[in-house]
Amino acid sequence: MVGVQDIPETLDDSALIAQSMADPECFAALFDRHADEIHRYAARRLGQEPAEDVTGEVFLVAFRSRARYDRSWPDARPWLYGIATKLVAQHRRAERRRINAMAKVSVERPGTFDERSADRVTAEQLQPRLARALTRLSAAERDLLLLVAWADLTYEDAAVALGVPVGTVRSRLHRLRVKLRRALGGIDPFAEEPQHG
């Protein structure tokens, strides 16, 4: 029964998870290490409120399935992002609403924002042209793109998170780039060109 505060920082995630089999409360140290990062990813995808629920749930799911963690992976982040991605998928509808809303911002209110709110919109929300591009991707493509772009996972890490071979990640990303180039190419961020999709 080691207190969470006794866990040395040098202990990698894998060893920490192993230790949590004997001493479940240690698992809180994994939360301390990664909760902010997982929350940021969930919040980017779903917005703040659902992100709080998702983040809490990610660590509960992780805790309950810790016995099956592959201990050859010292860094638990890909595993946690994989769980987070699956949980985000349960909010697919909320995510679609959010993306659609962001895609429409400039269309609905062209030129009505003053400087400050326009800044806020571009900082806190996704640029409309990116949001529109996202609406053209399948759910699986979006998961992969955002794990790489927003969670900053390597291809190998993304493969772990999604439970597919790294070769699959490479070929999917190749197709994804082609699709994105077409979706983004030549579109002015604030153009009012109607988008279907």
Binding site: A35, R64, W79, E124
Partner: protein
């Protein structure tokens, strides 16, 4: 990162930081789960409502009572005490095993106001499907806490009253070698040496090392805590634990109900002795005990007891009780999410090989005593030379169809 993907990375929406209150709440929720779920818990899923329960047979760790007869069961009359050696439970597929216990464990928490700890106590009653075919149920009732040795009882420990019903979802396919249902336990190897290897495999993928010994001991505790297995497996497990390096036996160790048994214990890394206390004859688990054995900074004096439990009785019932306000258990529904990472394409032979269904093979009236055929155990070769990755752990009884559970 390529251009298009870079564009998305640069354009990622700025989001506000994790709201501290929400963060603290999520962390506390996790810690609560960690405290309640000592030992491995079933992941969770939707709950099947059922009618009032019918008790059939109760077996007691020295205190057992048979409440009513069961066809083919050892049927003394209602309210009769059963000696440990005479009564063995005979759970059938579809029935539930009920274990009642008193527990006391250390609770430690760190929050904004600092570090606090105390010994929290509960009474637990757990129902689990004998063949993992249905969800289970857990009732936790608070009991008056005790202060951590040498310290005052912190304010937050005073809020202990009340009880909680929790659903325990059953996903045997996902748990694989970490199952603890009767159907799984009743086909464990009855050879202590083979069973000991199984403990190492379960704990650490079969990799050797000092940590592996510790983990194997923990794995043994997980198999015993709030479970029931046939006498043959209990005997083998008792011997297997005794064979783990660092394990020492002690006589006349008391559980929290005051029953004395033989304890198998191991020193932990942090100056405590962790003991599993057994009935000397039936080898049923009586309880657990954690005692301070080495003085350390910030630790209580040698001899202080930091955890003490008692498994009071084990019984079999046909149905789950009607329970109010059951906390749903949704973890089986994210089955995919919680699978562990598969970094590379590990070619697994696949658990599809035909294996005997344990529920039919074992849950018979008279378990065949000398027949190794009762063990599917095609798995032993895995564990000796090449440590198998965790996910390759053997799956003696893939019980894919869980009619009531999904």
């Amino acid at each position: 990162m390529d251009d298009e993907i870079r564009t998305f990375a640069d354009g990622a929406p700025d989001v506000p930081p994790y709201w501290p209150e929400a963060r603290a709440k999520a962390r506390e929720r996790l810690l609560r789960e960690a405290r309640e779920g000592r030992g491995f818990r079933f992941p969770r899923l939707g709950w099947q409502a059922v009618a009032a329960f019918g008790v059939t047979v109760a077996l007691v760790g020295g205190v057992a009572v048979v409440l009513s007869g069961q066809p083919g069961g050892p049927g003394p009359g209602v309210g009769t005490s059963v000696a440990l050696t005479t009564g063995e439970l005979d759970p059938r597929p579809g029935q539930f095993i009920v274990v009642e216990s008193d527990t006391m464990y250390t609770s430690e928490s760190v929050d904004g106001s600092g570090h606090s700890r105390w010994l929290y106590r509960t009474h637990r009653k757990i129902w689990r499907s004998a063949d993992a075919s249905a969800n289970g149920l857990l009732l936790i009732e608070g009991r008056e806490p005790k202060p951590y040795p040498g310290e005052a009882l912190p304010e937050q420990a005073r809020d202990w009253r009340g009880s909680d019903w929790m659903q325990l979802a059953s996903c045997p396919g996902r748990l694989a070698a970490w199952r603890t249902d009767y159907a799984y336990l009743s086909v464990l190897p009855t050879d202590p040496v083979i069973l000991r290897k199984r403990l190492y495999e379960r704990a650490s993928g079969g990799k050797p090392g000092a940590d592996a010994d510790k983990q194997a001991f923990v794995a043994a505790g997980d198999l015993l805590r709030e479970t029931y297995m046939p006498k043959e497996q209990r005997d083998a497990l008792f011997m297997a634990i005794g064979g783990i390096p660092g394990v020492k036996a002690a006589q006349n160790v008391e559980d929290s109900a005051g029953r004395k048994g033989v304890a198998l214990g191991r020193d932990s890394d942090n100056g405590t002795l962790e003991q599993l206390i057994f009935d000397p004859e039936s080898h049923l688990l009586l309880g657990e005990r954690v005692t301070v054995i080495a003085q350390k900074d910030g630790r209580p004096p040698v001899g202080s007891v930091l955890a003490l439990t008692a498994q009071l009785n084990v019984s079999v019932v046909d149905k789950l009780p009607d329970a109010p306000n059951v906390a749903a258990d949704g973890s089986c529904s994210v089955e995919q999410a919680s699978a562990s990472p598969q970094p590379t394409t590990v070619p697994t032979p696949g658990p599809t090989d035909p294996q005997p269904a344990p529920t039919e093979a074992v849950l018979t009236e008279e378990p065949a005593t000398d027949e190794p055929a009762a063990e599917p155990a095609p798995t032993e070769p895995n564990i000796t030379e090449a440590p198998a990755p965790v996910d390759d752990a053997p799956e003696p009884a893939p019980m894919e169809d869980s009619p009531a559970g999904s």
